[in-house]
C-alpha cells in the first residue's frame, strides 16, 4: 500500500451547457518519502488534482486515500493537519496586514495546539529565517523570504504530506535554487512526502523520482527520472514538452506548427 492513492479521480465543473470535464479518470500512487511530480501546461488540470487532495474541491468522483484511509471516511480536521499545501504566489498567499507570527500561529489556533510561541520559533528556524522576522509584515520581506514563510505555515502543523503548487515559478533562478534545496532538507529532516506541480520539466527532473505528464485533464504518461534521462519518453506530447523545455529550436517550432495545421 502506498502513502497516497489516487484512483479514477474525475471532476466536472460548471453548470448546464458550460459543464466541463476538468479531470478525466486520474490514477496514480505515491510512496512515503517520495517526491512525485505532476507536469503539464496551463489548463491541464495538474493544480486541480492538488486542490482535490487538499479538500478544496469536494464534488469529485473516484477515490483519494492517504495511508489507507479515504477522504470520505477521514476526520476533516485531521486530514487537513496531515495534508498541507504551499501555493505559487508568495505575494498573494500571505495576509498583508498580519505579522509573520500571526500568519504562522493561525493554523495552530485552528487545530487547537499548545506551545504556540515555541512552535513558531522552531519552524522559522527550520525554514532558515531569523527569529526577529516574527514581528515583521509580509511587505517587509523579499519574494524568497515570503515563500519561506508560506513553507513555514505548511510545516508548522507537522504534516506528513505537503502539496507544492508551482512553489518557485514566481522566483528568480538563484532564489529558486535556495528554495528547492530547502525542500530537499525538510524532506529528510521531517520525513515528508511531496506532490510537486510544475510546468518546468527541469525542476520536476531535479526534485522528483517519478512524475506524471498531464494534458487536458488526463495523464498521458508516467515516467521515472531514469526513463526521462535515458530518453525513454514515448508519448508524442511528452517528447514535444521535453524538447521545448530544453532549448529554443527553430525546426522543432516549424514541425510543431505544421502538426497543428494538419
Amino acid at each position: 500500500m502506498s502513502l497516497i492513492d489516487i484512483d479514477d479521480l474525475s471532476l466536472f465543473l460548471g453548470q448546464g451547457a458550460r459543464r466541463r470535464k476538468i479531470l478525466d479518470s486520474i490514477s496514480f500512487s505515491v510512496e512515503a518519502g517520495q517526491t512525485y511530480g505532476l507536469v503539464g501546461e496551463s489548463g491541464s488540470g495538474k493544480s486541480t488534482v492538488l486542490r482535490c487532495i487538499a479538500g478544496l474541491y469536494r464534488q469529485w468522483t473516484g477515490g483519494i486515500a492517504v495511508d489507507g484511509q479515504t477522504f470520505r471516511q477521514a476526520d476533516r480536521l485531521g486530514w487537513c493537519r496531515n495534508v498541507q499545501m504551499v501555493f505559487q504566489d508568495p505575494y498573494g498567499s500571505l495576509h498583508p496586514k498580519h505579522q509573520i507570527e500571526d500568519i504562522l500561529a493561525e493554523p495552530l489556533h485552528i487545530h487547537k495546539l499548545d506551545n504556540i510561541g515555541e512552535r513558531v520559533g522552531k519552524v522559522l528556524d527550520q525554514v532558515g529565517l531569523p527569529g526577529k522576522f516574527r514581528y515583521r509584515f509580509p511587505h517587509q520581506l523579499s519574494g524568497g523570504q515570503r515563500q519561506r514563510v508560506a513553507i513555514a505555515r505548511a510545516m508548522v502543523l507537522r504534516p506528513s504530506i505537503v502539496l507544492l503548487d508551482e512553489p518557485t515559478s514566481a522566483l528568480d533562478v538563484s532564489i529558486q535554487a535556495e528554495i528547492l534545496n530547502l525542500f530537499m532538507d525538510l524532506r529528510e529532516e521531517l520525513k515528508l512526502t511531496y506532490l510537486l506541480v510544475s510546468h518546468d520539466l527541469s525542476v520536476i527532473d531535479h526534485m522528483c523520482s517519478a512524475f506524471a505528464v498531464m494534458q487536458a485533464g488526463r495523464i498521458v504518461e508516467v515516467l521515472t527520472r531514469d526513463a526521462l534521462e535515458n530518453n525513454e519518453a514515448s508519448a508524442p506530447y511528452t517528447r514535444t514538452l521535453i524538447e521545448a523545455s530544453e532549448r529554443y529550436d527553430r525546426d522543432l517550432a516549424l514541425r510543431q506548427a505544421e502538426a497543428e495545421q494538419a
Partner: protein
C-alpha cells in the same frame, strides 16, 4: 557588425524620490544591430529600466543621462516629445510580458491592431483593416478575419501575445524591445512566439532587444547576451559561449539552474559579494 541600429554609451538612470537618489542603471553601454541581443538579470537588476529608458517611457522622477543614446544615427535624448512620438511605436516598438494586461479589454483585438496602424499612417479605416488582417495572418493566426472581431478575453495567452506582436509590427519598426515576452506562456506556445520573432530578425532585418531572466532560453535563442547585476552590465558574451562566462555572478546564475539530465543532490546557491555592486570602470 556594421551600422548598429541602436547605440547606447554610458547610460545612467537615477530616480529621485522621498528617500533620496537611487542609481538604478549605471554606465550601461551596448549596441544592437540586425540581431538578437539579450539582457538578463534578476528582478531589480535594472534590465527593464534600460528598455524603458531607450523608449523614454520612464516617469519624471527618473533622470536619464548618457554619453550617447543614438537610434538610426539620431540622438534620442535631444529629441522633442513630439519627435519621440514618431519613433515610439513607429520605429521602435515594445512587447510586454502579459498580453492580458496590455490589450484593451473593451475593444476588439483587430481594432487595436488597426489603431496602431492609423496612429502612424494617413489611410482609411478599410485600408487599415485590410493591413491588420494581413498582419494577423503573418503572425500565423489561422482565420484572421474571425480573430479580428474577437475581444481579448476570447483569445488564449499565446494568441494574445501573437496579436501584440502583430500590433507592434504593423508600422514596420527597425527595433523591437521585448520585455519578458514569453514568461507568461507555456513552453510549446513559447516556442511558436520565439520562432516568430526569430523569423522577423532574419527576414526583415529587425533588431531585437530581448529582456529576460531565463538563461536557458537566451542561450539557444539569442546572438549576444548582456548580464546585469545591481544596475551594471557585469559581462557581455556571445550566447553560445554563455557556458564560458567568467564573472562569478554569471557562473553562479548558470550553476543554480536545474537542468534535465544533470542530476545534483543540491543546487549551488549564489553567495552575493559586495564587490559585484561596486562601480565598474566607465567605458569610453
Amino acid at each position: 557588425m556594421s551600422d548598429p541600429i541602436l547605440c547606447v554609451r554610458n547610460l545612467n538612470v537615477r530616480y529621485f524620490g522621498a528617500r533620496g537618489a537611487m542609481h538604478a542603471v549605471r554606465n550601461v553601454s551596448f549596441e544592437v544591430g540586425k540581431e538578437k541581443v539579450a539582457i538578463i538579470g534578476e528582478s531589480g537588476s535594472g534590465k527593464s529600466t534600460v528598455g524603458r529608458a531607450v523608449m523614454r517611457l520612464l516617469p519624471d522622477v527618473a533622470r536619464v543621462e548618457a554619453d550617447a543614446l543614438d537610434f538610426e544615427g539620431r540622438n534620442m535624448l535631444a529629441l522633442s516629445e513630439k519627435a519621440m512620438q514618431d519613433i515610439r511605436g513607429r520605429r521602435i516598438s515594445m512587447i510586454l510580458q502579459d498580453p492580458k494586461f496590455s490589450l484593451n479589454p473593451v475593444m476588439t483585438v483587430g481594432e487595436q491592431v488597426s489603431e496602431a496602424y492609423l496612429a502612424h499612417f494617413p489611410v482609411s479605416r478599410a485600408e487599415a483593416r485590410r493591413r491588420s488582417i494581413e498582419q494577423l495572418a503573418a503572425v500565423r493566426i489561422r482565420d484572421p478575419e474571425h480573430v479580428y472581431g474577437l475581444y481579448p478575453h476570447e483569445v488564449s495567452g499565446g494568441m494574445g501575445q501573437r496579436i501584440m506582436i502583430a500590433m507592434m509590427l504593423i508600422p514596420d519598426p527597425a527595433l523591437i524591445i521585448a520585455d519578458e515576452p514569453t514568461s507568461a506562456l507555456d513552453v510549446t506556445v513559447r516556442l511558436q512566439v520565439l520562432a516568430l520573432l526569430d523569423d522577423l530578425v532574419r527576414q526583415r532585418g529587425i533588431g531585437l532587444l530581448f529582456i529576460s531572466h531565463d538563461l536557458n532560453l537566451v542561450q539557444s535563442f539569442c546572438d549576444r547576451v548582456l548580464i546585469m547585476y545591481a544596475g551594471q552590465v557585469v559581462e557581455e558574451l556571445r550566447a553560445d559561449e554563455l557556458d564560458k562566462a567568467r564573472h562569478e555572478y554569471s557562473q553562479g546564475l548558470l550553476a543554480s539552474l536545474p537542468r534535465i539530465g544533470a542530476r545534483r543532490e543540491r543546487l549551488p546557491t549564489l553567495n552575493r559579494r559586495s564587490e559585484w555592486a561596486l562601480d565598474l570602470v566607465r567605458q569610453k
